[in-house]
């Protein structure tokens, strides 16, 4: 009997309505800016140039922050919460209406498989707007004081791993709380944030409330250090997060950071093994491992190690790597040449330090940036691949003997963003959750997100929470942080 080959099932690229060039979004208009040049964003699966995107320089940042300030003072800040909510609901609905376009665009620009952009990124982005729209007129019941007020202008810098979703995570709570925003999308993935800007305009959001400024690190630095910015929110690497914190020190800016992670995914011998395997796959191979809360360190109880590894390897053999637009693709492209180089460098360090590398038989396309799903066994806490964030489809497998040892190893990292616990014993889940120093702890699941659930880190993974009631706190003050009372 011949093998069953699934025929290609690609989404049409035209659905993305890609344009040759994109401007920045300032004060309600798309503009080419003050002439700080442009960047070319490429499809990481093919290395073809997708579009030319105007880069925002210092002058553009000044214009955007001024526009945001005007919008805050004159329109958005004074607007009753129930009115702001209408705009957010409208944005959420338009995101849903344009979901297919956004999903294809996201997969083209980022390299992630269409099934993820379609089933995770875009629906969750819409869900965040819906969720925070509901809060806009209920801020005084959020447990943040009797009369919480917006801070003013928020400068927000987001990463390339979930370009649209991170924009939604940043904009939705800020806008619901009455702030105005200057958002800088990542240099390699600016397109979906610009379409989101277009959606804001489609929703008749008043000019200046949301501004989107594409660019690289310089643009981001100009945004976060701008004296007119009251609040800085950053998601990205721990290294850049530290620079931003230094910059914000001694200013009145409020700051939240959502940084890297090296999450432990802990498998006990009484775990539901088949589902644990799915959780491991979802933990580290979801979005090619470009996930700050990825379960990149697998901690397996020694008594079940062999059985689990056999199951995991068999499962990895069924993963389909290739064209991100194909609906049957499980693993897409690495976002950039630079990221691919970093993944390679750390993997080679794993080889050099004596860990054992394994990948399923998985041919890689000739063009584009690709890395096969990879499992390192024989990893110890002392190896770089057990300590440093790889941000790629690379799993480091360690073992433990007792629950206490699992806690000790799981916590033995400078990071503390997330962790996973797999056991059928409820009391052990609670025992572990009390001891793990991580902001998000999943039990018998991994990488599940919901707008009502707060998300954020301990230690070098940052501070501040996004999502849920907690996600409003970074955007509100109950002590006169702004000049106007919230009259929702």
């Amino acid at each position: 009997m011949p093998t069953w080959e699934y025929a290609p099932a690609p989404e049409a690229r035209e659905t993305a309505r890609l344009r040759e060039s994109y401007g920045m979004f300032v004060d309600g208009e798309f503009t080419d800016g003050s002439g700080s040049g442009s960047l070319k964003t490429v499809n990481p699966a093919t290395e073809e140039v997708l579009a030319d995107v105007a880069v925002a320089g210092q002058a553009d940042v000044d214009t955007a922050v001024d526009a945001a300030r005007r919008a805050f003072d004159s329109v958005w800040g004074p607007m009753p919460g129930r009115e702001r909510a209408k705009y957010l609901f409208r944005i959420a609905r338009i995101v849903q209406e344009r979901s297919r376009e956004l999903a294809v665009l996201e997969s083209l620009d980022n390299g992630k498989p269409i099934k993820e952009s379609r089933d995770v990124d875009v629906p969750l982005a819409a869900a965040h707007f819906f969720y925070y729209a509901g809060w806009a007129d209920k801020l005084r019941y959020a447990g943040l004081g009797p009369d919480p007020r917006p801070l003013g202008v928020a400068g927000q810098v987001i990463p390339w791993n979930f370009p649209l979703l991170m924009a939604a995570w940043k904009l939705a709570p800020a806008l619901a709380a009455g702030n105005t925003c200057v958002l800088k999308p990542a240099e390699t993935t600016p397109l979906s944030a610009l379409v989101l800007a277009e959606i804001c305009r489609q929703a008749d959001l008043p000019p200046g409330v949301v501004n989107v400024l594409p660019g690289a690190g310089e643009t981001g630095a100009a945004v976060v250090s701008h004296p007119g910015v009251d609040k800085v929110a950053f998601t990205g690497s721990t290294e850049v997060g530290k620079q931003i914190q230094r910059m914000a020190a001694g200013t009145s800016k409020r700051l939240t950071l959502e940084l890297g992670g090296k999450a432990a995914n802990v498998i006990f011998d009484d775990a539901p093994l088949d589902q644990a395997v799915e959780g491991i796959v979802n933990g580290i191979f979801f979005n090619q491992g470009h996930v700050c809360c990825a379960g990149s360190r697998l901690l397996v109880q020694e008594s079940v190690y062999g059985e689990l590894l056999d199951k995991l390897k068999r499962r990895l053999g069924t993963l389909r790597l290739g064209d991100p637009l194909d609906k049957n693709t499980d693993i897409g492209a690495i976002n950039s040449a630079a990221q691919l180089a970093r993944i390679r460098e750390l993997s080679e360090a794993g080889d050099a330090e004596g860990a054992h590398r394994w990948s399923p038989d998985c041919p890689l396309p000739d063009r584009g940036f690709w890395f096969p799903p990879t499992v390192f066994t024989g990893v110890s806490q002392a190896h770089r691949i057990a300590r440093e964030e790889i941000f790629g489809p690379v799993l480091s497998v360690l073992t433990f003997r007792t629950p206490a040892e699992a806690v000790e190893k799981a916590n033995n990292t400078p990071y503390g963003l997330s962790a996973g616990i797999w056991t059928e014993k409820g009391s052990r889940i609670l025992w572990m959750a009390q001891r793990l120093r991580a902001g998000v702890i999943w039990a018998n699941t991994f990488n599940r997100f919901d707008p009502s659930s707060p998300f954020g880190g301990y230690k070098e993974s940052g501070f501040g929470r996004e999502g849920g009631r907690h996600g409003l706190a970074p955007y509100l003050a109950d002590d006169g942080g702004a000049t106007r009372s919230e009259n929702g």
Binding site: M1, P2, T3, W4, E5, Y6, A7, P8, A9, K115, D119, D270, A271, P272, L273, D274, Q275, E278, G279, T318, K327, N328, E424, N444, T445
Partner: protein, 328 residues
């Protein structure tokens, strides 16, 4: 391997088990410890995995291939009190030639009927590769003595059935009498002789996925050639999470013992799209060896016509319509 002879309902049952598993079926307590020692199934996770597999997009040549395989895996079924020899003859004609307008259409795997109609079907299907499967063991409830169940099986086999679809004693299973369930399956298997045995778990009555995994292992240890979801008389019947757990059990059993055993999904599968989704699950969970009527079956009646309609559509580029498939 002969283990021990036990007497159940005045029938002597000789326990057998695959190599390496003799100890497991030695007595009730050991069997229970083994079944309860299998890894648990997290329902939320199993449902998520099943839903994820259902998003596979099967198009063009891969769809035609799947539709034809699904036809070859069909156990064309009628299990009604109102069944007559005429109805069974019509069913057999459909099984031999599902699509009179297109001789390239594959034949189905078997027809599945009640024991008293086996003779009719055997006569109709003489000389064709289509097998005659009979339900037995006081189908669908299984509420009869073991002697009656075995007589039911013997009737069907002596009338020429080459496949027997038995039901397990769900009452015994749910009150933890795994040894009794095991012994009954062993006795039925012996009564089958050369006939293939499909063991119906009636998963809609077992209720939890942990039970589905345990019952699957129990049936496979007892010598069932197939595990089958449902009688079709209880709702829910075949569901994606149940199919997932049974396919995992068949895969794990093969890895542990070297014996590949089949999985049959029955009850409520009416659309070709569902059948193709189940084939995706078979492919990615059990493995491509199971993409074969020897190891995978779909119990169905109305499903067959939808498979034929979808095949017309792939062939002609347009739907033909319900008047272009035969109603039997």
């Amino acid at each position: 391997m002969v283990l021990s002879a036990r007497t159940l309902d005045s029938v002597t049952v000789t326990a057998v088990a695959p190599t390496g598993y003799a100890d497991v079926v030695r007595d009730e307590a050991t069997l229970r410890r083994f079944l309860h020692g299998l890894p648990g199934v997290d329902q939320v996770g199993a449902e998520a995995r099943a839903a994820g597999l259902a998003t596979r997009s099967i198009k063009k040549a891969s769809k035609v291939w799947a539709l034809e395989l699904a036809i070859r895996c069909v156990d064309l079924t009628t299990l009604e009190g109102a069944d007559t020899p005429g109805k069974v003859r019509a069913l057999c004609a459909k099984a031999r030639r599902p699509d009179p307008g297109d001789p390239s259409t594959p034949q189905v795997a078997a027809v599945c009927i009640y024991p008293d109609l086996v003779g009719t079907a055997v006569a109709e299907l003489a000389g064709s590769p289509v097998a005659v499967a009979s339900v037995a063991t006081a189908f669908p409830s299984g509420r009869a003595s073991l002697r009656t169940k075995l007589a039911d099986v013997a009737d069907a086999v002596s009338a020429g059935a080459t496949e027997i679809d038995m039901v397990i004693d769900r009452g015994a299973f749910l009150c933890g009498q795994y040894g009794q369930v095991y012994d009954e399956i062993v006795a039925v298997k012996e009564a089958c002789g050369a006939a293939h045995l499909k063991v119906i778990l009636e998963t809609g009555e077992l209720s939890t996925l942990d039970n589905v995994r345990r019952a699957s292992w129990l049936a496979l240890l007892a010598g069932g050639d197939f595990v089958k979801t449902s009688t079709g008389k209880v709702s829910p019947a075949a569901t994606p999470p149940v199919a997932l757990v049974m396919l995992e059990a068949a895969r794990d059993f093969a890895l542990a013992t070297g014996h590949q055993r089949g999985v049959k999904l029955a009850g409520g599968i009416r659309a070709a799209k569902e059948a193709v989704r189940y084939l995706v699950m078979v492919h990615e969970v059990a493995g491509e060896d199971w993409l074969d009527p020897a190891l995978f079956r779909l119990g169905a009646s109305t499903l067959l016509n939808d498979l034929l309609l979808q095949r017309h559509k792939e062939r002609d580029g347009a739907y033909s319509g319900p008047d272009y498939v035969t109603l039997d």
